[in-house]
């Protein structure tokens, strides 16, 4: 759905997130992370028992690291918890559940969710600790794992520029997981640094077409 009525306040946007929801959060470390939306979730929402799908669980006291400190994350699905030692400590203390996924499988599983694909076979992870609990299929003599899509209730993404319809343009390596996550959730909330009029973004340069975006929020 495209945006009906212009940007909304971040606090209103994150009110879509309910306790027990699965929330995707874009960014590679803090680069490309929707920091205004994360702050609103930390400060104005009391949704807890959240499953967070993000490449990292922020850094200590920064980004998703703030939500972690509030004890509102039940489970993390990530390729690299290690960049936040507090997340590692929380997993080891049994305070949060961790699902570790190879980064390429993580990206593809999110893409698959948005593209209506029920699963895919990849050789990555076969024969390793991360194959635990996954079906193995041998294709052309090579062991593959059946990987299922990763869906979410809400996706929080960040783009440098959006137009008033919700078309998004990402800048440099701040793109990372954002365009994938924008496709994979029931509700997608995009935080943008700048909003321009419809038609201002070159149609050929739009990375996320507006049909994926439900709400727009301006970065603070």
């Amino acid at each position: 759905m495209a945006i009906a009525s212009g940007p909304i306040e971040p606090e209103e946007a994150v009110s879509a997130i309910r306790s027990g929801d699965t929330v995707m959060v874009g960014g590679f470390g803090l680069v490309g992370a929707p920091l205004t939306l994360i702050d609103a979730l930390v400060e104005s929402s009391d949704a807890d028992e959240l499953t967070i799908v993000s490449n990292n669980i922020g850094e200590p006291g920064r980004g998703l690291g703030k939500l972690l400190r509030q004890g509102r994350i039940k489970r993390g699905i990530s390729s690299y918890f290690t960049s936040n030692p507090e997340a590692v400590a929380a997993v080891n203390a049994g305070e949060i559940e961790a699902t570790l996924v190879p980064q390429g499988t993580f990206a593809e599983a999110i893409r698959a969710a948005g593209a209506g694909i029920a699963g895919f076979l990849t050789p990555v992870g076969a024969g390793t600790l991360l194959a635990e609990g996954k079906e193995e299929h041998v294709v052309d003599g090579v062991p593959h794992l059946l990987e299922r899509p990763i869906h979410a209730d809400v996706a929080l993404v960040y783009a440098a520029r959006g137009d008033e319809l919700g078309n998004l343009w990402y800048r440099r390596t701040a793109r990372n997981f954002n365009p994938l996550m924008a496709t994979a959730a029931r509700v997608t909330i995009a935080e943008v640094r700048e909003i321009v009029a419809a038609g201002e973004l070159e149609p050929e340069s739009i990375h996320t077409p507006h049909l994926y975006v439900d709400e727009l929020v301006l970065s603070r």
Binding site: R111, L130, R175
Partner: protein, 218 residues
Amino acid sequence: MTDDVKISIAARAAEELRSGEVANLGIGIPNLVPGLLGDDTNVILHTENGLLGVGPRPGDDELDPDLIDAAKQPVTALSGAAYFDSAQSFAMIRGGHIDVAVLGALQVSISGDIANWAVPGKDVLGVGGAMDLVVGACRVLVTMTATSSTGEPKVVSECTYPLTARGGADVVITELSVFRLREGALVLTELLGDATVEQVRAATGGPFDVDLEDRRAA
């Protein structure tokens, strides 16, 4: 490990790269490789967070908060660079479009298995792109010291650390030697510096064949 040892390993790895190849470099010794390439060897660097055409570290006045590499360090982008999302970046890796990955390892087995992401009994909570790269890159060059900081061989019969992938290593370069994977087994093909075959055997935790190549004649 002294810087001289690291540089000698990286310098030998640099000789494995050919002009025009696309390479993905891990942190540590692999990151020293670009500075050690010959003047006429032009390698294109890929970083899995979404950039082909990684340039050198920026000066303080050129820092861009939207531009980092997979080690989360600031970088620049060379003329002709391209940005893409993470699914496309890993499609490049998994799909065999990255010519060579240079990476460090904790252990490599004599059948080429690589363990480079976790230490047993410690945190096994960060894998990043390690498994994708070892499986997907056309050639995998492992750069590491021959022994660990406690003197244990890192080339072993069987990896005791959690595996990254089976049979992933094509070339293993240490300060002592070069091994190449041939028919499913590492073969000692070159001695580095003043190393002898006996020294390599003493620093290796498993049996291997020796087939020394004379690189000067090649």
